[in-house]
């Protein structure tokens, strides 16, 4: 059975390393914060200007002047710092953020990502995504394996306007965990519980590399 959003978030949380600074995009990535083990010390960055995002506030703590990049009310933690958006992107562009987790509409087998526009239909804008994907050393995409219409979102080449080239290192979907290889291709690492390799093959339009037994995720 394919994972739900919580499942994807839980699986990505396993990728998080101790002592790192992380930027979480809107949507599933934001959920990842809830599943990082207590013994893993990380600091979450919000590109509007906060390092050290705390939990959502109690009703009494809600502060209109303290939001995350998704415009949700948040809190600070001990050791947080606040700064301007220019300073925030100094951090991002300067390579000081260790890991970026974000959503995508399409990912190509070269690691290209598209997530900001469907020509003629929908424009969200790129927000900070283009800066993040052009700058981060390590980028993990969290998304559904297929669109609502059943089309694969893991492609040979993206059809939608690009957000960044050759930047995605890993994709975690409702069906699978895949590495994007430097030489191109999605290397299948894990299957979602109950999802078969055949189902993943059928749902992946880009080059899929399968070597040996593919274990089930442990969540």
């Amino acid at each position: 059975m394919a994972l739900d959003k919580i499942g994807i978030a839980k699986r990505i949380a396993q990728e998080v390393q101790d002592g790192t600074y992380i930027n979480l995009g809107i949507g599933i990535p934001t959920l990842v914060a809830n599943f990082i083990p207590d013994n893993i010390n990380v600091v979450l960055q919000s590109e509007n200007g906060l390092l050290g995002i705390g939990p959502f506030p109690d009703e009494s703590e809600v502060d209109a002047d303290l939001i995350n990049a998704g415009k949700q009310t948040v809190t600070t933690t001990k050791g947080s710092s606040l700064f301007s958006s220019a300073e925030s992107f100094e951090m991002i562009r300067g390579g000081h953020v260790d890991l970026t987790i974000l959503g995508a509409m399409e990912v190509s087998e070269n690691g290209d990502i598209s997530n900001w526009k469907i020509p003629g239909k929908m424009v969200k804008g790129m927000g900070g995504a283009m800066d993040l994907v052009a700058s981060a050393e390590n980028i993990i995409v969290a998304m559904q394996h297929c669109s609502r219409d059943g089309e694969s979102k893991l492609l040979s080449e993206n059809t939608l306007p690009i957000t960044g080239l050759r930047c995605v290192k890993k994709v975690v979907t409702d069906m699978a965990v895949l590495d994007v290889l430097p030489e191109g291709g999605f290397k299948l690492l894990e299957r979602a519980p109950g999802v078969s390799v055949e189902e993943i093959k059928a749902a992946t339009a880009g080059k899929l590399i399968i070597e040996g037994e593919i274990p089930e995720m442990r969540i």
Partner: protein, 232 residues
Amino acid sequence: MINKVVSNAEEAVKDIPDNAVLMLGGFGLCGIPENCISALLKTGVKGLTCISNNAGVDDFGIGLMLKTRQVKKMISSYVGENAEFERQLLSGELEVDLIPQGTLAERIRAGGAGIPAFYTPAGYGTEVAEGKETREYHGKMYLLEQWLKADFALVKAWKGDTSGNLIFKGTARNFNPMMAMAGKITIAEVEELVEPGELDPNMIHTPGIYVQRIFQGKDYEKRIEQRTTKLK
């Protein structure tokens, strides 16, 4: 110290002419110059180019100025929360430049800091790069981006003194400090206006040199877009 105080928002914005280029601070609805926006709705100035990360929501912030058709062009990074913005963009009624958020922030900072152009990696290989010079540094490709300046920058701070020094609160800081730098005339509205000497010089976010007019705002609504609280 130089006194920058004007009496209110109406006084502060009254000479903003049609077709002016404005910068407006804020990220989403957080840290937006509410009083100045209200005053612009009253003056009815038209043909504005607004540089702002977002355009508010349909019924608050810059969204209100989109409804009244006072805005000719938006320069922003994100349309997400604003259906009217997205509609005007897709229909072509509104001219829109979408710019990566970090590039937008840095271009504004560059405008204030006298840096006419700089290289950034954001947007390389995307439609943002169309028509722009590219160059490789240390094995990575970069775009050449130019500064942004404005005729008027409208910023919102938490505290300010009469000489224009500003302190922001929380994530309401966002684009406000850079915009204060990049406005030919910078208008600051503050929740609390104090005398010089009352703010710690070591803790000023925006030095008064960047501010030409300042006033104490009133009736702040500070609307929240995504009120999210702890699960019980």
